[in-house]
Each structure stands twice: as C-alpha cells, then as structure tokens.
C-alpha cells in the first residue's frame, strides 16, 4: 500500500473541519468573496482548498465524481481512504471535482427537482487563480455588486435561469476558495 494516501487528512478533525466549514459557508453566503481554507492536502493535481473541502463535506453518503486528470489512481485512493465517498459518474454525483473543461458539459449534473431543489450537484472547480475581477455578480449575499473571474459566464447565466433549480459551485486554487450558488445573477 502506498503510504502517501494516508497523509493529508485533518490533524484535529473536529476543529479543522469547523474552520474549513466556516470558510465554505462564508464563501457560499457571499458569492464572489475569496476566502482562505486550509487543513487538508491531497495528491497532485488536487489543490489544498479542494482537498480540505472534500474532507469537510464528503462521506459515504455523498457520491463524488472525479473528472479529467483528477480522476487518477492516487486521488481515488486518497478520497476513498479519507472520506469513504463512493466514486460515481456525473449523473449520480452529489459532489464533483475537476477543472472546468473536464466538468463540461454541465447538463450531466443534477439540478434537483422542483419539490426538492436541494437534490442538486455541487461542483468543485479547480482554477489556475481566483481574482475578484471580471464577471459582475448580483444577488443574495452581495450588497451591491461583486466580481469574480468565472471560467464561462454564459454557463452560469443559464444555470441561474433555472433557479430555484440548478447546480452550486465552489472554485478552488491553492488555498483560495470562492463560491457561486445558483441564486447569483451573472451580469
């Protein structure tokens, strides 16, 4: 067994997870705001932010889809050891992890049902960098307007048009985290 897969978990799980969740909640509650998140470290090419999110939110109850280069032997073994999340195809995924191009086409992921809009996928998008500039955002959690360098604004516009259905997004880069829920209007 590769000893590396045992590494990179939380050192103090209850406290590390509480800190990580606070960052994730602040990000989701304030779309476009960039938060620092740390505590986990997965195998390459997984960012520390994505690894921490997965340790915080995933467990055997949350099917996870790995896309593109992140769907490798080391990442699969690490996720399975640390979270027990079943690895599945895009259609069944509660969470998905990958770079933007590898996650496309977006319509493979669940948008929830009109009676249960919460039964939708949350996508963790690995990015080269996160900057509070570019596409303008408006909606719940944003006082006036916010901005974030989104990979493809049209996809998020179409996703917002489905509200209250739709997918929710985390963006990760290094130890930076930002989020874009379906409720955000992409200008």
């Amino acid at each position: 067994m590769d000893a590396q897969l045992l590494e990179g978990g939380f050192t103090n799980a209850p406290v590390d997870a509480a800190h990580a969740f606070r960052a994730a909640m602040n990000a989701m509650a304030r779309p476009g705001r960039i938060e620092a998140i740390k505590g986990g470290q997965g195998p390459t090419p997984m960012s520390a932010a994505a690894a921490t999110l997965i340790l915080t939110l995933c467990d055997p109850e949350t099917p996870l889809h790995l896309a593109g280069p992140l769907d490798n032997e080391a990442v699969r073994a690490w996720v399975t050891f640390h979270t027990g999340a079943p690895l599945v195809g895009a259609g069944e995924a509660v969470f998905a992890l990958g770079h933007w191009d590898d996650l496309m086409p977006i319509d493979r992921f669940a948008i929830g049902t009109s009676e249960y809009p919460d039964r939708s996928a949350t996508l963790i998008v690995e990015c080269d960098d996160l900057r509070a500039e570019g596409t303008q955002l408006r909606g719940p959690g944003i006082k006036d307007v916010a901005a974030l360098n989104l990979p493809d604004p049209d996809v998020f516009r179409a996703n917002h048009a489905l509200f209250p259905l739709g997918r929710d997004f985390f963006f990760t880069s290094g130890s930076d985290l930002a989020a874009l829920p379906r409720s955000t209007e992409v200008i």
Binding site: A18, D118, R182
Partner: protein
C-alpha cells in the same frame, strides 16, 4: 474517557448538517430536509438551533444566546452552558461582542454586522402548515409558487378584524420566490431580516434547515391598501427610555399597574449604562 467531541455532535452528523446549510444558503428561503438528531434536551427547547450552532461553531467564536430577547432566562442559560462545556467557546451577553448568536423569538435591537451569524430556533418551519396540514401538498405549493392560500388568510384577517392580525411569525417572501416563516419573532423584527449577517434557521422536531445570506431581499406579505406595519407598543421603555425598541408589558401590582420594558436585555442594560433613564428606573423612583 468522559470528553465530548467538539460541539457535542459526531463529525458525520455535522457534515450532514453543514451540507444542508450550504444548500439552504444557495436557495434562500427553501426548507432543506435534514436528519435531525436526538439532543440532550426536549423538542421545543431549541434542538434545531442547537444542531445548527453545533455544526457552525469554531473554538474562536464568542457565543450569545437569547430567549425572547433575554440572556438570563432558563433556555438561554442552559444552551449557553451546553456549548461552554462541549465546545469550550467564549460566551457573552453583548450583541456587539458575539460572533454566533442563537435566538428564540427575537432579533437583537443592535444591527448585526458582517461576520456575525444569527441562528434561529424554529418550532414550525412551514408557513403554510396551519392552512394545509399535508406535507405533500405544501411541498407542491412551494414548488408551484402557489401562495394564494396565504393571501386569503391575510385577507380574512382584514375582513374580520379590519387589519392583518398576525403579530408574530409574520410570513415573508424571500427574493420574490419562497414564502418563509421567520420563526415566531414579532413582526416588529421583520424589517431587520435584511441584514449584513448570515441567518440560519433550524427546526429540530420538523427536521428542516433554511437560511438567508446577507443582504437577501425579505419582504413581509401585505396588500397595497393594507401595507405591512411593524407595530410596537406606544410607549418608551420604562427602564432606559428607548423609543425604538420592542417592549414587553409587565404587570407590576394588583391594581392594574404595568410597565413597559425592552425585551432585549443587553440593549436596555447598555443604554442604562450609558446614562439613559426611563419612567421607572431606580433614580427616577427616588
């Protein structure tokens, strides 16, 4: 081994609650089902709020609990002690010093700032429940945005009483989509719900979590010719003289004597410490 896991709940339960909170924030006003746990207190004593607080607290937080605005009532004291013991968090009675505030039936008078989190204890999260007992039906009504029944209820209030008689748990519409129960806060507090802090709602017995991100649009339902009125008692506080706070009416003798006093104990005490005086404060009585 007699220690508790940090903040009492096990990690898998906290993950489940945290996922529900995130979906709640993504769909403001929608009630996310969650697998509510048995807590070491009875339903109706804030088990929903306690579970949300347990999933939200970090060791660095300063925690405040209010029950009808008061920090020193049984429910508030026991929940505060619960998290002092299980999460070793600092506690306070000062609204301005708290980072997480758990509340039963009030919003503090002092406006919340960014970074503060307000956790509501919710008894009946479904605003349509007293109009339609079936969960299958109310779920369909939310899905179809079919809220006519709620307006009929408010209209019947007007035809019977001349005004909308609902004084607490006054229904609101969130971002022009979901009708939401603000928990049994007085309607006086409704306008405060458009705030800079994050608002989380936990209903333990009914197994629902919902949320409002900061600056979310929250509109109290009304009619053009009967606009929403966040009324309050026509008195200043008898202890601190405040004219802008929500007041409790207290009977003080057997001869019909009464006084009005701020329901928010921290607000009232802070004002008195700053030298504000009301009709019945100690110096005035001398």
């Amino acid at each position: 081994m007699s220690d508790y896991n940090f903040a009492y709940l096990d990690e898998q339960t906290k993950r489940m609650i945290r996922r529900a909170i995130l979906k709640g924030l993504a769909v403001p006003g929608y009630q996310v089902p969650f697998a509510s746990r048995e807590m070491p207190m009875p339903y109706g004593w804030g088990t929903g709020g306690v579970q949300v607080s347990a999933a939200t607290l970090t060791p660095e937080d300063t925690f405040k609990v209010i029950d009808q605005g008061a920090d020193d009532t049984t429910n508030a004291v026991s929940i505060r002690k619960f998290f002092e013991k299980t999460a070793q968090v600092a506690v306070t009675e000062k609204t301005s010093e708290a980072t997480v505030i758990q509340t039963r039936h009030r919003i503090p008078e002092e406006p919340l700032r960014e970074g503060q989190i307000l956790v509501y204890q919710v008894p009946i999260p479904e605003p349509l429940r007293f109009l339609e007992p079936s969960e299958v039906e109310t779920r369909k009504m939310h899905a179809l945005e079919e809220y006519g029944l709620m307006h009929v209820k408010l209209y019947e209030d007007i035809s019977r009483h001349g005004h909308i008689a609902t004084a607490y748990a006054y229904p609101v519409k969130v971002e022009a989509r979901y009708v939401m129960d603000p928990s049994p806060i007085p309607k006086f507090d409704n306008p405060k719900m458009e705030m800079a802090g994050i608002q989380l709602f936990g209903a333990g017995r009914e197994q629902r979590i919902y949320a409002l991100p900061p600056y979310t649009q929250v509109v109290s339902l009304d009619f053009e010719d009967h606009p929403f009125d966040p009324s309050k008692a026509e008195h200043p506080c008898d202890m601190c003289g405040a004219e802008d706070s929500y007041l409790d009416e207290v009977i003080i003798d057997d001869a019909g004597g009464r006084m009005f006093v701020c329901s928010d104990t921290d607000y009232c005490a802070t004002r008195q410490a700053a030298g504000h005086r009301g009709r019945l404060s100690a110096e005035a009585a001398e």
